[in-house]
């Protein structure tokens, strides 16, 4: 796959300034340009898939919720919807609407958190502060409705645990109005700010063909022209009754991912308004029986439950063996599906782009650390430089500086963005 090209090998991480989570990248660098990249991520594998086997379905919800601090509702929804399918439970519409509402609120706060982190990675700290301040609108709403800013714990087997009364609906609609105003600001300024374009346009490009080959999911796939969205291709909760668009872009670079995520926030606002206005009356749980009674007759079957988490397609495979504890729970998180695209898009970028290219897929290491990943890239002969060689190399490289043309990486078999990849405007 990526043959070992000459050049320095620079380790970035696992404790490195750009990503506050343990992930290690070894970059093969030719001057300022990355020619090869490897990742090592399994630093705090927590063995959740083993732990969950000794928990009952009820307790498993709260364990799986804590796989990730940003997309906890995604994990509980995927898991409970899977178990509901096993038990053949018909979740009442009101509960499905509330589940959709919390899911979209979570998508907004996750995307805004990413917008801030991306701003920080390219040195645009003001965007970081604004994005995280505006995100508080959604976090406060979530805390009011569910009782907690992060782990909402609103899902239970067969429905939801909290209701949505009228003044919460008012608060949501007002919140969405303020938020929409802020999103319009981001929509108009961020992609058009020249310095953001200089750092994001044509950087970390993932072509559609590459995205399909590596089965990229979520905003990474959609920004490269692969229209995948579980809310449309396998509608769950209330996504049948609401209309929204799947946002796609075909540029496949970081700017495209930024635009796609901002537009997805706008779509989420649209969904939330429809849910808040049209939520039907009805009870919150499929059956009044207490959970342990429900779980007495779990069939010996398995289910593949998919959910569109903020970072992409999340899959919970649950196999039951009739007892009240699951026989096997396999979780494939969206970040794992997107990691290979990071390696491919790192090649040909500058060292300075590493943080933003890695942050481009909105990686969730805590999700991945439930399982870790290290992509291929052969451990070729170590041809690292020692310090003196590095100094010669640096000085020699900077002697003919000026307009640094990016070395052609055609031979690497990677489709390079045509035209102006070396010439930044």
């Amino acid at each position: 796959m990526s043959e070992q090209s000459a050049g320095t090998e620079i380790p970035v991480g696992p404790q490195h300034p750009s990503l506050k989570e343990p992930a290690n990248f070894t970059l093969n660098v030719d001057g300022e340009v990355i020619t090869g990249a490897e990742m090592k991520l399994s630093y705090n594998h927590r063995g959740i898939e083993q732990a969950v086997l000794s928990k009952s379905y009820i307790e498993a919800i709260y364990l799986l919720e804590r796989i990730c601090g940003i997309c906890s509702h995604a994990h509980t929804s995927a898991f409970t919807q899977g178990v509901e399918e096993l038990l053949d439970l018909e979740v009442p519409p009101r509960a499905r609407y509330i589940r959709t509402l919390i899911g979209e609120l979570e998508r907004i706060h996750s995307h805004m958190l990413w917008l801030g982190v991306a701003g920080h990675e390219i040195g645009f700290d003001t965007l970081w502060q604004y994005a995280w301040r505006d995100r508080e609108i959604v976090m406060d709403l979530l805390e009011e409705i569910t009782g907690n800013r992060v782990h909402y714990s609103i899902n239970t087997i067969g429905g939801v645990r909290q209701d949505l009364n009228d003044d919460y609906r008012e608060a949501i609609l007002d919140g969405m109005d303020d938020l929409e105003e802020r999103i319009d600001f981001y929509r108009n300024t961020v992609p058009n700010e020249e310095t953001v374009r200089m750092r994001c346009e044509g950087v970390g490009v993932v072509s559609e063909e590459l995205a399909r080959e590596y089965c990229a999911v979520g905003a990474v796939g959609r920004a490269s022209g692969v229209p995948t969205d579980v809310r449309k291709d396998a509608p769950y909760a209330a996504y049948d009754d609401v209309d929204f668009d799947v946002i796609t872009d075909d540029r496949g670079d970081l700017l495209a991912r930024t635009v796609v995520r901002i537009e997805e926030i706008a779509q989420a606002i649209r969904i939330i308004r429809q849910v808040a206005e049209r939520i039907p009356e009805g009870d919150l749980k499929a059956s009044a029986k207490p959970p342990q009674a429900l779980l007495a007759q779990v069939p010996e079957e398995d289910v593949v439950s998919r959910y569109e988490a903020p970072r992409g397609e999340l899959v919970h495979y649950v196999r039951a063996d009739g007892t009240d504890t699951p026989a096997r729970v396999h979780i494939r998180v969206p970040t794992l599906a997107n990691w290979p695209t990071v390696v491919e898009s790192l090649k040909g970028s500058y060292i300075a782009d590493t943080p933003i290219v890695v942050a481009g897929i909105d990686p969730c290491i805590s999700c991945t650390s439930r399982i870790g990943v290290e992509t291929d890239g052969s451990h070729g002969g170590e041809n690292a430089f020692d310090l003196d060689e590095l100094r010669e190399y640096g000085i020699e490289w900077y002697d003919e500086r000026g307009n640094v043309d990016r070395p052609s990486t055609e031979d690497d078999g990677r489709t390079v963005a045509d035209g102006t990849e070396g010439e930044r405007p």
Partner: protein
Amino acid sequence: MNPNQLKSDLDERLEDVIAASGKREDGRLEFVLADRADLPDGVSRIRDAGITHLITITGVDGDEEIEILYHFLKYGEYDDGDLSEGIELTLRAIVPKEDPTIGTITDQIPAAGLYERELMDMLGVEVPDHPNPEKLLLPDDYDGGPPLRAENLEVSD
């Protein structure tokens, strides 16, 4: 194309390699491989049917043998903003415990590289000629047996 049409299309394409096939009431198709050696052949036929998205590979330790499930997705049709429903399908391969090996499909679907390595770590199923058989989830110097194997599970209630 709805699930039934896809099922009949795939039944016909895979008839000499699968032992059984079925459709779950949620629309998910299921095909059971007769012999695990036919995996690469089965996967290439599935790809010929226009299914490119590998969702993931799940390994389950079933006491006597290990089940390996390859979950695929056929994308829905997309026309500007609207996406029709996709179809999920699972290819199930059975691997005897005494010789836990399975062929690789990473050459056909590069994304499978990661999932196969997770299979190797967690269930000790060897995947020969995998491009980069490094440890995926566990530390390099982990010497305990595959954690999700029944014998290593200390399941406490």
